[in-house]
């Protein structure tokens, strides 16, 4: 029974570690942003329409440099960027609960192992 408990807690701890690692990996891979951002199809459409009347190529040879752009792509941020369900996805809201559950599992594993080491009463002790 105690072995099963220990095994389950190790499985939970492992799952939490995977969730935390994958979340941090995704945060790092998508640009280590502060806030979660999604690809905005409407904005892409507006930009494409605006680009049709662009003067940029006319002035390309004049040495007038282009402006840096605001990226229109998905980034997983450290914090949520809004109140809608998809905007609440972030490192804090995904990895945060996993850290809490993981620490709880780790603590209970330690307590279980310490419980094993306490001397069992032997017949004749009293």
């Amino acid at each position: 029974m105690r072995t099963m408990k220990l095994l389950w807690r190790l499985v939970v701890l492992g799952c939490c570690a995977v969730i935390i690692t994958v979340t941090l990996a995704l945060w790092s891979a998508t640009g280590k942003a502060g806030y979660t951002k999604y690809y905005d199809a409407d904005r892409a459409q507006r930009d494409a329409e605006a680009a049709q009347g662009s003067m940029e190529d006319l002035f390309a040879d004049t040495g007038i440099e282009t402006l840096p752009e605001v990226e229109n792509r998905f980034t997983l941020g450290l914090a949520p960027s809004g109140k809608t369900l998809r905007e609440t996805a972030s490192v804090a809201t995904i990895a945060g609960p996993a850290i809490v559950v993981g620490l709880g599992s780790l603590l209970s594993i330690v307590l279980l192992l310490l419980g094993d080491k306490t001397p069992k009463p032997t017949p004749g002790d009293d």
Partner: protein, 250 residues
């Protein structure tokens, strides 16, 4: 006696209120936003400015015109706008003799709707009370022709003018590149009229304009007090209102 004292106080109060009104009124005139045209595609050019030289109108709604960058320890923010309207009056030597440009705060897009709202809030830009950032050109100095071909002439200049952000006006000097391109078969296809491009990059200290002073966001390193503003404006001698009216008639 009592009545006389009361009258004296009343007169003094009226004088103080009148003086306050004059100060507020003067401040209002000094920092009032320029007047947009009927459809909001350009600014109304005062007659005194129009007389000085050739008027070029900024073309909004196409290319990105302004980008701001905040490189703080905890967050990198970039926002952009293509809603700048305004005009520049250009002299023969490529100098900008006058000009006004207006950037609506609501048009600034950082890619995150919640952050855009924060930016417009009372805590930051207070867009309800101060809806626009305004730059007025006072003079152009250090003019030098840097490149010239049959199609265009480029000048390096320093623009000196007044920047108004959140109701506070400060004089700033901005190194800029200006390119004049006379109308040709090639340019006509995009927009009628002689064209002008203005490109500049300059720092702005937010606290100098009363933005985010002692704000926890700046103290915590989420937003930098020093922003970099990059501007690239395309302008034309043909009024955007006229072009849009013609297109509608078709």
């Amino acid at each position: 006696m009592i009545q006389t004292t009361s009258n004296g106080r009343f007169i003094r109060a009226i004088r103080v209120l009148t003086a306050l009104g004059a100060v507020v009124g003067a401040a209002g005139v000094a920092t009032a936003d320029p007047t947009p045209s009927e459809n909001g595609f350009e600014l109304v050019v005062p007659e005194a400015h129009a007389k000085l030289g050739t008027v070029y109108h900024a073309l909004k709604g196409q290319d990105a015109q302004v980008t701001f960058t905040s490189d703080a320890p905890l967050e990198y923010i970039r926002g952009t706008s293509n809603a700048v309207i305004g005009y520049a009056v250009v002299g023969e030597g490529g100098e900008l003799l006058a000009g006004e440009f207006m950037l609506p705060i609501e048009s600034l897009d950082t890619g995150i709707p919640m952050r855009n709202k924060h930016l417009q809030s009372k805590r930051w830009m207070e867009a309800e009370t101060y809806p626009n950032v305004v730059f007025r050109i006072a003079e152009t100095t250090d003019i030098s022709e840097s490149r010239s071909t049959d199609a265009f002439t480029t000048y390096s200049v320093t623009l000196v003018g007044d920047m108004t952000i959140k109701g506070k006006t400060r004089e700033i000097s901005i190194p800029a590149t200006i390119t004049r391109m006379p109308e040709s078969e090639q340019t006509k296809v995009r927009f009628p009229g002689d064209l002008l491009a203005i490109r500049c990059s300059y720092p702005i200290v937010l606290s100098e304009f009363g933005v985010g002073v002692d704000d926890p966001g700046i103290i915590a390193g989420k937003l930098s007090d020093d922003l970099t503003l990059e501007t690239r404006l395309f302008l034309s001698t043909t009024s955007p209102e006229e072009v849009i009216a013609k297109r509608r008639r078709r």
